[in-house]
Structure formats: structure tokens, C-alpha cells
């Protein structure tokens, strides 16, 4: 068993959670003028997958992108500064939450559904052509598979046996629309399967299983067996965009949300971590405070950071 890996995954999840909880607590202050899609409840996916990556691998993400940014070790100061529109942000205030990136850590997000899927395939094509041992990973939601570009990209990747891992975070909803009004009842990982594709489904809230699954898939992808698809069953706890709860809005029940809160991936891994003696409850609490404090510090630092100069508006258009 890989104690270090689980510990890292756990710490990453904790860091994502504490960072996003900070956003929750300050979003109403209107310092973050950027529509923000929180990953609270879905942290295990990014944390476990990224744990299995190498530093040079590339990661492409949808609108719900904070978790992957943080899991890859994206800079926290640059994160809060970007959300606050400051020039110290990772994109100097141009991108906001939805187009978040860490060029250093090879993470790029776009909120157009499905948009990053072919980009990941193109990255993988370049690795293949240049015979580099890198892989591309793309995270997307259950709605992105409804975009035609998904199947086009999958076909191309399978055809060329490209090193790309497709990770579908199936949280059962697209905004407020349940899967049942968008797709037939069969599971996504079966429906999108083609005979030549490695396609799996896993509990997206079980970091241990998730990590085992990706640890099996990724070496195969990397060594040239072709792409793999992984459907992770998970759940978004907060509203689609913004920091609030929304179970009073009619599209899902409080019971449903609560049942998923009980399956909290952090809680679950925490039990495992403490049970295995990898960390103690106290150590964890300390870490929780540490990440929380770091988030607060980065946020405060962002607020003291300068705004972009108006006359830089046209920079980097060409």
C-alpha cells in the first residue's frame, strides 16, 4: 500500500476544500467578480488522478476547475489574485475562475462545455509525435459527453492510440438538469464505449479506489495502449455556480444532498487515513487550519495586490 500517495491525496483534498470554503465565506464581499463553480464534494477525483500523474503531464479542465488547479500544485496566491481580478493573478486578471490556468503546472481550463477535450487530444498527439512519455488528462462533467466534440475527440484518440485520459466527473446534474432528461439511462462509461477503448466507472467519492483505478489506467495510457475513459460518480454539494446551498430550489431534494454529504470523500478518506495510522486526527486538524489560514492569507494578499493597468487591455491579443 502506498501510504504517501494516500496522504498526499488526502492533503490535496483538504487543501481544495479549505480553499473553496474560503471562497464560500467571502464571496458575498463582491471582491471576486467572476462566476465560480465549486468542487466541494468532488475533490477526490482531481486529487487522486493528479496524484498519479507526472509533473510534465498536462491537465485540461472545464468550468469546475479549482480542484485540478490546486491538485496540480497551482500557486495559491495567484489563484486568489485571479479570482479577485488582480494583476498578480495567474492570468493577470484576464481569466477569472472559469478560464483558470497554471501554465507552470500545465493546467488549462475553459468553461465552454467540451472545449478542452480535443485540446487534450491535440496535446496527446504532440506527445505521440515527439515520442515524449507524457500524457494529457481532461476533466469534464457529465454534460460534456453530450457535445459532439467529445465523440469526435474520442474517435480520434482511439484511432491514433493517443496518450490521453478522459475523466468524466458525473455529478448527476448539468446545472439543474438531471441526467434523465439529457441522456438515456445506461451508464455513461458503457454508452460511450467503443470496443477499442479502455472504459471504466468508479466511485468518485472513494479516493482509495479511484487512485487504484487510475494507477492501473495511467501506465497503460502512458505506454501507448491508447486512451482510457474513466467515469467518476460523484456529487456537487453547493449550487451550480456560486457559494450557496440550493436544495430548496426544487430540482433536487435535501435528502439527496444530505445523503451525498454523508458520503463526503474527505470524511471517507480521513477515516481510512486515521484508521491506517497514516495521520492522526490532531495532525489532520492542524493541516485543516493551516490550509484555511493559507487561503485567508492569499485572499488578503490578493486584495492588497494591484489591479491591471487599463492601458494593458490590448496586451497578448496577438
Amino acid at each position: 500500500m502506498n501510504e504517501d500517495a494516500y496522504k498526499n491525496i488526502f492533503l490535496t483534498m483538504l487543501r481544495i476544500r479549505q480553499t473553496e470554503e474560503k471562497i464560500v465565506s467571502v464571496y458575498a464581499e463582491q471582491n471576486m467578480r467572476t462566476p465560480t463553480h465549486l468542487s466541494i464534494g468532488q475533490e477526490a477525483v482531481a486529487a487522486a488522478v493528479c496524484q498519479a500523474l507526472e509533473p510534465q503531464d498536462q491537465v485540461f479542465v472545464s468550468h469546475r476547475c479549482h480542484a485540478a488547479y490546486l491538485a496540480r500544485g497551482g500557486c495559491l496566491d495567484a489563484f486568489f489574485a485571479e479570482l479577485c481580478g488582480r494583476v498578480t493573478g495567474s492570468s493577470r486578471g484576464r481569466a477569472g475562475s472559469a478560464h483558470l490556468s497554471s501554465v507552470e503546472k500545465h493546467v488549462f481550463a475553459s468553461p465552454i462545455l467540451g472545449a478542452m477535450i480535443p485540446v487534450a487530444v491535440g496535446a496527446a498527439l504532440s506527445f505521440f509525435m515527439d515520442r515524449l512519455p507524457k500524457i494529457a488528462v481532461v476533466f469534464f462533467g457529465d454534460a460534456a459527453v453530450e457535445e459532439g466534440v467529445f465523440s469526435e475527440s474520442l474517435n480520434f484518440a482511439v484511432l491514433k492510440k493517443l496518450p490521453v485520459l478522459f475523466v468524466c466527473e458525473n455529478n448527476l446534474y448539468s446545472t439543474h438538469s438531471p441526467l434523465s432528461v439529457r441522456q438515456p439511462p445506461s451508464p455513461i462509461y458503457e454508452r460511450i464505449r467503443v470496443p477499442e477503448l479502455l472504459s471504466r466507472q468508479t466511485d468518485g467519492n472513494d479516493a482509495v479506489r479511484l487512485y487504484q483505478t487510475v494507477s492501473d489506467l495511467i501506465p497503460r495510457v502512458r505506454q501507448g495502449d491508447g486512451p482510457a475513459f474513466l467515469e467518476c460518480l460523484t456529487y456537487r454539494i453547493r449550487e451550480h455556480v456560486g457559494p450557496l446551498f440550493d436544495y430548496d430550489r426544487g430540482y433536487r431534494s435535501q435528502e439527496e444532498v444530505e445523503s451525498w454529504m454523508e458520503r463526503c470523500p474527505i470524511q471517507r478518506l480521513q477515516e481510512f487515513i486515521t484508521g491506517q495510522g497514516i495521520m492522526t486526527q490532531d495532525e489532520i486538524e492542524e493541516k485543516r487550519k493551516e490550509w484555511s489560514g493559507q487561503a485567508e492569507a492569499s485572499y488578503q494578499k490578493a486584495l492588497k495586490s494591484p489591479w491591471p493597468e487599463g492601458n494593458t487591455l490590448l496586451e497578448n491579443v496577438y
Binding site: T34, R86, R182, G242, G310
Partner: protein
């Protein structure tokens, strides 16, 4: 007259049209959810239920083709995009198929359908949630394209669209959704191809589209105090375009400023300038001016976003420049008050 918000005017138009015409249905991502496309499809869903107002997968390309196939068969679909930026995915179907259907099949079938797209603005919508697809739609023959600037026009255009024998694209401005104005309770239509003279004046013709109309009117109010009299024309529909009204106005004033909610390059503002430079050339006293977005993607940060968008103040400065005037107008009044608090 009764007043209504822009979004409620849209909602009312949809409900009234659906009441009259059982072939109308509304579909698109989230049209039936509790937000109901910022309130515009909520009442229709309540009244007509899930058979006529229904959610869809995220498949913008196919949905446009599905719209077309249903329209050819006598239905009158209303396809809704919460952001018109998503319509880039539907352009093949819209431009290669829907816009050409009647022509290429020699007028034997028509395609009565409405595509609603919302143009985002502000609060960090960012590079992919704040564009305007109007110029692309107006460039290709076969579509009606309209951009309502007021609740009154929004209702009239939607009702017009829902009795038009061809594909219509209506691009609404998210920033106008909460603006209020007089709207008759009756059903009424506003013709495509008819501009709306929002203010009569004699000194400068300002052609302003969508959310730039209120900015232009504000500018007119401020300049009036200084004896400058703007004529404000809202083209309302970009295709067909009411060239006549604009030309007549410029013939009277001798000055044109076109203020668009878009990039200038190959945009509707260029078209207005070109039409005037041809057909009202003899009356023009000064260069034709255009005001629009900075030529960059729309950034998130407020300091940059504020620079990206033109405002009332740009209109005033341009007018003063054209007229060679320098007046101490109240710059505070000319600020755009942005009350939108996100997220979309």
C-alpha cells in the same frame, strides 16, 4: 401605460404567442428549471408544461438541426441559448442549413423558428461569455436578426418572430434584463426591417444598438443642457436593415456616430458607416465615427472590463469632437451604473 421589465416582456410575449399557436414550443438547456433563463421561460413552463417547454442535452449543433427539422414540419420551435457564445457550435446548422433552406429548396418549404441568444456583460463574464454573434448572423443571407433595446421592443420582436415565415435570431442583452419600460398588455408586433427613432434631434445622428441605446439617450439628455440636439436611432433589426431611416436622419443632421455593442471590425457598425458613406455622402459634414468594444477578448478584471466597454461618456466626447465643441458636462452623470451582482 403599464410598465414591465425586459425579461418579463420577453416572458409575456412567449406566453401570449404560445397561447395563440399550439405549434410553438421552447427548448434549450435549462428552459424549464427554477431560474427559467433568467425568468424568461418560467411562466411559459408553468402554463404550458413539459410538453411545450423542455430541457435538452448540451448539444448545440444538433439542437439547431432539430429546430430546423421540426420547423419544416410546421412546428414553430424556440431554441434558447443562455449565452449566444454557445451558438458558435450551432453555426453550421444555422448558416449552412437553416438560412439556406427556403432558397435551396426553391421556396417550397419554409423554416419558421426563433433562436434566442443572450449577450452577456459584466461581472467578469470573461472571454467566452460576453461576445455578440450578431454580425455573423447578419452577414449571411436568409436570417432575420434583431437586437431589442427595450422591454417594448423585446415583446414586439418576439411576437413578430413567432409569426415570421423563416428563421429569426433575436439577441437579447443580459444587462438590459432588469430595465423597465412601458409595454402594452395586448399582443403587438414590431416589424423586422424597421428602425426605431428613439429621440428626434437635429445636430448629430447616433445609431445605437441594444444596450447602447440607453447610453445614447443618457448622452442626449446631458448634451441637451448644452444646446446639442442628438437624434438617436435604434436600428432594431440588423437584417433586414432599415437603411432609409438612418440615411434620412444623416441627411438632416450631417453627422453620424454608430455605437455598437460589439467589436467594430467587420461588424454592424461598419455596415452602417458604409451605407451612410455611400447613400448619404453628400450630406455628411464630418467623418463617420464608430464606437464599440476594444479589440481584445473581454477580460474579467473590473479595471480592464471597464475599459473594454464603451459608455455614454465616449458618445459625448465623440459628439463634442465632431461638433468642435468643448462643454463642461457632468462626467458623473455619464457614468454607467452597473448594478449587476453576478454571477451570470
Amino acid at each position: 401605460m403599464r410598465t414591465l421589465s425586459y425579461k418579463d416582456a420577453i416572458s409575456e410575449a412567449l406566453v401570449q404567442a404560445m397561447d395563440n399557436d399550439p405549434d410553438i414550443f421552447i427548448f434549450g438547456l435549462g428552459v424549464d428549471d427554477y431560474k427559467g433563463i433568467f425568468g424568461t421561460t418560467r411562466e411559459a413552463y408553468r402554463r404550458f408544461g413539459p410538453e411545450r417547454v423542455f430541457d435538452t442535452p448540451a448539444s448545440e449543433g444538433a439542437l439547431m438541426g432539430i429546430t430546423l427539422g421540426a420547423a419544416v414540419n410546421g412546428k414553430r420551435p424556440v431554441m434558447v441559448h443562455a449565452r449566444n457564445d454557445f451558438m458558435f457550435l450551432a453555426l453550421d446548422q444555422l448558416l449552412n442549413n437553416a438560412a439556406k433552406w427556403k432558397y435551396v429548396y426553391a421556396g417550397k418549404t419554409s423554416v419558421p423558428c426563433l433562436v434566442r441568444g443572450i449577450v452577456g456583460k459584466g461581472w467578469g463574464q470573461g472571454v467566452t461569455h460576453s461576445q455578440n454573434i450578431q454580425a455573423v448572423c447578419a452577414h449571411v443571407p436568409g436570417l432575420h436578426v434583431a437586437v431589442p433595446s427595450s422591454p417594448y421592443l423585446a415583446k414586439g420582436l418576439i411576437l413578430q418572430a413567432l409569426q415570421t415565415d423563416g428563421p429569426v435570431v433575436i439577441l437579447e442583452s443580459r444587462a438590459l434584463y432588469d430595465t423597465v419600460g412601458p409595454v402594452s398588455e395586448e399582443m403587438y408586433t414590431f416589424d423586422f426591417g424597421k428602425a426605431h427613432v428613439c429621440r428626434r434631434g437635429k445636430d448629430v445622428t447616433v445609431v445605437a444598438t441594444s444596450l447602447m441605446v440607453p447610453e445614447a439617450l443618457k448622452a442626449a439628455g446631458i448634451l441637451e443642457a448644452h444646446g446639442i440636439d442628438l437624434e438617436i436611432i435604434d436600428p432594431v433589426s440588423l437584417q433586414p436593415m432599415d437603411e432609409r431611416t438612418i440615411i434620412e436622419s444623416v441627411k438632416k443632421t450631417g453627422h453620424l456616430i454608430c455605437v455598437d455593442n460589439d467589436w467594430l471590425r467587420c461588424g454592424f457598425s461598419a455596415e452602417v458607416a458604409a451605407v451612410v458613406a455611400d447613400q448619404a455622402f453628400g450630406s455628411l459634414k464630418k467623418p463617420v465615427k464608430r464606437i464599440g468594444w476594444a479589440f481584445s477578448p473581454c477580460p474579467v478584471s473590473k479595471t480592464l472590463e471597464d475599459r473594454f466597454y464603451p459608455s455614454c461618456q465616449n458618445i459625448i466626447e465623440t459628439v463634442l469632437h465632431l461638433l468642435d465643441r468643448d462643454v463642461p458636462y457632468n462626467k458623473e452623470c455619464a457614468l454607467t451604473t452597473d448594478t449587476f451582482l453576478g454571477p451570470y
